[in-house]
């Protein structure tokens, strides 16, 4: 399978390494034509405002929006913000593919960043979750499955072919979230 990692800015390299550990040689995506022929896309953490500036040029936004409507996509942190239906603090444009509302920088600034280990709906042990200037999912639509929580708010969500996390599985050694995404991609491929 061919997986792309959006590489406009942010932690794309860490995602490439995580996917490499699972035997996937990911392709970097910086322009709209590079989305062609992908079976799945990872949108990394970084600054969603910066990524939006690039998407607003050369019709990238529209191409990406139609891509994420049909093709498995995994967004972490800024990537989760881009996928969300609604974005608050401040209100900003998004791809509106995943039926959630996200509040940016909701846990505070960098001094409030933290690493937590908690049980999740993933098989196996509790999951280590690295939160960096993290957003908060404040609403989930009826079709959204919540796989992990922090203080009662969802931090890992799944809806159809879309997966999103407000934490950074690419910054840890546990590959279960990336594996889950690859399983979603596999299930979505035409047999």
């Amino acid at each position: 399978m061919t997986i792309g990692v959006l590489a406009l800015q942010g932690a794309f390299e860490a995602h490439v390494k995580a996917l490499d550990s699972l035997g996937i040689a990911a392709k970097l995506v910086r322009t709209p034509p590079e989305l062609a022929d992908l079976d799945g896309l990872v949108m990394p953490g970084g600054e969603s405002t910066t990524m939006l500036k690039f998407l607003e040029k050369n019709g990238f936004f529209d191409v990406l929006q139609s891509f994420v409507r049909h093709t498995p996509t995994f967004g972490t942190c800024a990537g989760c913000i881009l996928l969300a239906k609604d974005v608050k603090n401040p209100t900003q444009k998004s791809l509106a593919a995943l039926d959630i509302t996200v509040e940016r920088n909701a846990y505070g600034r960098q001094i409030d960043s933290t690493i937590l280990t908690a049980p999740t709906n993933l098989p196996g042990n509790p999951l280590e979750m690295v939160f960096i200037r993290a957003p908060r999912i404040t609403r989930t639509g009826p079709g959204v499955e919540v796989l992990a929580n922090r203080d009662g708010f969802p931090v890992l969500v799944h809806e159809g072919h879309l997966l999103a996390a407000t934490f950074h599985p690419e910054l840890g050694a546990d590959l279960r979230v990336h594996q889950l995404f690859l399983d979603i991609v596999q299930a979505h491929r035409p047999s």
């Binding site: 800015q9 860490a14 910086r30 600054e47 500036k53 960043s113 690493i115 960096i132």
Partner: protein, 317 residues
Amino acid sequence: MADHTTNGNFGSPSLRLKTGLAEMLKGGVIMDVMNVEQARIAEEAGAISVMALERVPAMIRAEGGVARMANPKLIKQIIAAVSIPVMAKARIGHFAEAQVLQTLGVDFIDESEVLTPADESFHIDKHAFTTPFVCGARNLGEALRRIAEGAAMIRTKGEPGTGDVVHAVQHMRQIVREIKALTVLDDAELYNAAKVHGAPYELIRMVAKAGKLPVPNFSAGGIATPADAALMMQLGAESIFVGSGIFMKERATPLDVENDPKERAEAVSRAKAIVIATTHFNDPKIVAEASEAVTGTMKGLAAAAIEESELMQTRGW
């Protein structure tokens, strides 16, 4: 099992959070800003972060005097004005300034040679802070000494406030060359390398094994054009700091972004172009288009014309 960040299994949870934010800042541009309007322009242009300071290096160089941490009031205004991370500078060794910056909620502290050093022997013990630090370096030994003190990001120094990229290139090439040289040494030779570089053996061994620094390596100092940014990214920088290159015109005069729409547009054009060139550093066609959109540039000051005693890059030990 290996960790997937630049830092490998390096360090404590606290250090992982610090280098984690540095990971998020990769492939982008951090812009020096002196007021709220400049911070807004930077965010609007796609900066990943802003560095709040009272005077950019070009002004410090021209005006002289003691350069210190920015006024907390200015930093708070900038934090309130933008949604992206905010950095601010503390003087080398001035841990009390750093404590103030941490209290204000600054996301990254730059222990910077651009300001007048406060301690001629010791840098700040950066492990003592929750807020991550970035420090300048001209060579591998200097970079590893800063990392040993707790820096979560290194930026090559260049010569700030000049608009002349020559020393940024020199320092990046030096660090990359010294890293490459370590990767072919055997264990016995690594002990001596630690002595030669004046850096802890454990860090030397880590760099030799990984072929890169254990924290992200950004570039700063004299970067003034989109092509400068593309150059530094191709030489191995993971992000770009731009100081005087965006908001300055003739020597030490800032563009009037608050009252003059033409000068505001000029600053926006430069900021946007450098952001585009940093992401698409490997695509000369896009760098060319970005360069074409720029109106005006910082006049600049050839680094070779600066007296040795006036250099900022030699501060830090």
